[in-house]
């Protein structure tokens, strides 16, 4: 045992407590930093020689303390849970946005939507039934018919625009995923190098975990711990990032709404060109919007249009126009979709208001002022399967579905809040705790300093004795 070992024990304590104070300082400084995980200095007592050897003497008191490591406090399981919940929330939020846009687009219940246009159209037939000879009433029928087709065409165009917007968003998202994955891979490489050479890389890990969380938000990525402090990121069962290697995603499939029938939009791996699994995240929500929600509501709108075109044209063909001829198609029979529906009758006298044919003296058809067919057309609204009813059913389904998604999004938001709170309770900085630690390190430092001066005075006594 060395005469001066007391001094070196005190010195080791001074170093260790100073390190502790430094870490506390770092924690306090980052109390409000996003994604920061609190750190803790791991103190380790230093013992005597571990293996007995000749001439080696040891008092058994140990030889001080050392700061073995600065530990980053983060629970990987909480992290994984939060990633899953964040991905799900992003998916639901994206879907909720789609539904609320659709609801705005149809503007029901109200005085400006398609229901109103239908009502006005049917009423114009009643007005025509009251005055079959009135050209103004006839023109009104045609104008109201155009208002209906314009509303349908407009709804289609808006959905198509919505679709293109979502498609662009998906492309931008794929770029962001690729860039983020590259950053994660690069950080993984740096972290691995640091860990292997024994340098703390806590701040880098925080940064990397934040990026992984962003990937969860974007594509519902999940992570698993890899070697040497790295993290592997997975989409479905396929790795997006593995150590310092990463793959990229491409958007494939139709690029406009019209050509959607030829296939669905999906995310594809650059390597191997097979489909990437993205059940959650913004990408999951966008893919549902692109491949399911929007096309589904357009086809519902097509059903409404089809009911309108076939029912009106059939009833119209059963009547007779102002010249006594049988009714021609009012709507283009080929345009039974919301995209293509249009009025093809422009001559007001060709509107078939009459329900009975008339012949003149020489047996040629002539017109009459009967309004019974116009009356029948006006009554289409109350028939089973009328366009009004089909449309109403569609709006109700939209409401129910939208409400369902909104509720699930609300529930998910509180789940995510809980998951984040759990993470925060594990990794967040508690200032009270840091203050207590600070006091502890301060006191220990003072005590070590005191020890040093005591050893010093002891040695002084020894040295003065020989004078």
């Amino acid at each position: 045992m060395s005469t001066f070992s007391g001094l070196s024990i005190a010195l080791s304590s001074l170093y260790a407590q100073r390190r502790g104070l430094d870490v506390t300082g770092q924690n306090v400084a980052n109390a409000n930093t996003d994604g920061y995980s609190r750190q803790r200095v791991l103190l380790e007592s230093v013992g005597g020689p571990q293996t007995p050897a000749m001439w080696s003497t040891w008092s058994g008191a140990g030889s001080g303390v050392r700061a073995a490591d600065v530990e980053r406090i983060r629970d990987m399981f909480l992290e994984q849970r939060a990633q899953a919940e964040h991905g799900e929330q992003s998916r639901l939020d994206t879907q909720q946005t789609t539904f609320s846009r659709l609801e705005q687009l149809f503007d029901e219940p109200g005085d400006l939507g398609l229901a109103q246009a239908f009502g006005d159209f049917w009423n114009s037939w009643h007005d025509l039934a009251n005055a079959p000879g009135d050209m103004a009433a006839r023109k009104q029928v045609l104008q109201r018919a155009s208002a209906v087709t314009d509303t349908l065409n407009g709804a289609y165009t808006q959905v198509a625009t919505e679709w293109s917007g979502a498609r662009d968003q998906l492309s931008a998202l794929a770029h962001e995923v690729n860039a983020t994955a590259a950053s994660v891979a690069q950080l993984n490489g740096t972290i691995a190098a640091a860990v292997q050479s024994g340098v703390p890389a806590n701040e880098l890990m925080d940064k990397r975990d934040q990026l992984v969380m962003r990937l969860s938000d974007l594509v519902g990525a999940t992570s698993r711990s890899g070697d040497s402090g790295t993290v592997d990121v997975y989409l479905g069962g396929t790795s997006l990032v593995r150590g310092n290697i990463y793959d990229t995603l491409n958007v494939t499939g139709p690029s406009d709404f019209q050509s959607l029938g030829s296939g669905s939009v999906s995310l594809e791996w650059a390597t191997g060109a097979f489909k990437a699994e993205t059940p959650s995240g913004q990408a999951g929500g966008l893919l549902t919007t692109l491949n399911d929600t929007l096309p589904r509501y357009v086809s519902r709108l097509d059903e409404v249009t089809n009911a309108l075109v076939t029912q009106v044209n059939t009833a119209h063909a059963a009547g007779y126009d102002l010249n006594g001829a049988a009714g021609q198609p009012l709507f283009d029979p080929a345009g039974t979709t919301a995209q293509n529906v249009r009025v093809v009758l422009f001559d007001a006298s060709l509107v078939a208001a009459s329900g009975t044919p008339s012949l003149d003296g020489s047996g040629n058809p002539v017109g009459n002022l009967d309004g019974s067919n116009a009356d029948l057309l006006g009554k289409i609204a109350t028939q089973t399967g009328s366009p009004d009813k089909v449309y109403r059913a569609m709006i109700v389904d939209l409401g129910v579905e939208s409400q369902g998604v909104t509720r699930r999004a609300e529930v998910q938001a509180s789940v995510v809040g809980q998951a984040d709170a759990d993470r925060e309770s594990q990794s967040g900085v508690n200032l009270d705790e840091e203050m207590v630690n600070m006091l502890a390190f301060q006191r220990a430092y003072e005590a070590a300093a005191r020890l040093m001066s005591t050893v010093d005075s002891t040695l002084e006594t020894l040295i003065n004795m020989a004078r």
């Binding site: 029901e108 009502g119 039934a129 009251n130 009554k379 709006i395 967040g428």
Partner: protein
């Protein structure tokens, strides 16, 4: 020193913030309801309410149209009523004149010629009445596109046999006009032929006037019968119009119950929400400030 759940300043802050945001969101929702006056702004606010609202709106529109149809029908029927009343007065005068001609069989040819001339002018008047128009259409002409129901000189029917009907309720359609033959008798033996014959017989064959009187009575009975039918239909359409108007009122009440906000309740809700929000703000400002830092020196 371990607790089940570590609480940090940041998590406290986040929780307080999310609480405040929920409160503010509710405040915003109530404010939106109040400023728009509507409880259902989009289908997802209440899918069932949306169905009711859309159905009510559709029915309101339909019933308003039924009211308009009924008004139009009432115009037709009212016109038919006054026309038939005037016709009856003329027919009675014809009957008086024919009776006079028949009973004074010994009277001079000149006096009977005078009677015949009056009957002729009455016949012209009756034809004019039969050609009465409503909104440019002869009311006894069926669905003809022509301007008259009876030719003004020959007295032959120029209209067709189709009926004019108005829809005044769900599946309720009322005929609002009769065709000429239905009112004035079948072609050849209609009122105008009978009256023409009376004028002829007054001039040439007073003895046959007795037979004409029977035919005229039959025509008059027919017109009377149509008149009472017109009256009955008028009151029916009138009742349907009232029903449609009442239904519109009912439906509007129903719609507003579903769709519009209950003002006093919403204002009350707003007040309560404001109080709650202020309380949350107050609590947040008190909770977050103190930490151990404040007590160390």
């Amino acid at each position: 020193m371990s607790s089940a759940f570590r609480v940090t300043q940041r998590s406290l802050g986040a929780r307080a913030l999310s609480g405040l945001q929920t409160q503010l969101g509710q405040l915003g929702r109530i404010q939106e309801q109040l400023s728009s006056g509507r409880l259902i702004a989009k289908p997802s606010d209440s899918p069932t309410g949306t169905v009711v609202a859309m159905q009510s709106r559709g029915e309101i529109r339909a019933n308003e149209q039924y009211g308009r149809n009924a008004s139009d029908g009432l115009g037709w029927l009212g016109m038919a009523d006054t026309t038939l009343m005037s016709s009856l007065t003329s027919i009675r005068r014809v009957r008086d004149l024919a009776l006079q001609g028949a009973s004074t069989g010994s009277s001079s040819q000149t006096s009977r010629e005078a009677l015949a001339q009056e009957v002729d002018s009455l016949r012209d008047g009756l034809l004019q009445l039969a050609n009465t128009q409503y909104l440019g259409r002869p009311i006894f002409g069926g669905t003809t596109t022509g301007a008259v129901a009876y030719d003004t000189t020959s007295g032959t029917y120029a209209g067709d046999t189709n009926h004019v009907a108005r829809t005044v309720g769900d599946n309720t359609s009322v005929e609002v006009a009769f065709t000429g033959p239905e009112v004035f008798g079948p072609a050849g033996s209609d009122l105008f032929a009978v009256v023409g014959q009376i004028a002829d017989h007054l001039r040439n064959d007073p003895a046959s006037l007795q037979g004409d009187l029977t035919a005229l009575d039959a025509s008059m009975q027919n017109v009377l019968g149509r008149l009472s039918e017109v009256g009955a239909r008028y009151s029916r359409v009138d009742a349907m119009k009232t029903a449609a108007d009442d239904r519109v009122l009912d439906l509007k009440t129903r719609l507003s119950e579903v769709e519009n906000v209950d003002l006093p309740k919403t204002i009350m809700d707003l007040q309560m929400q404001q109080v709650a929000y202020q309380a949350a703000l107050g609590a947040t400002s008190k909770v977050i400030t103190p930490s151990l830092v404040d007590f160390l020196r």
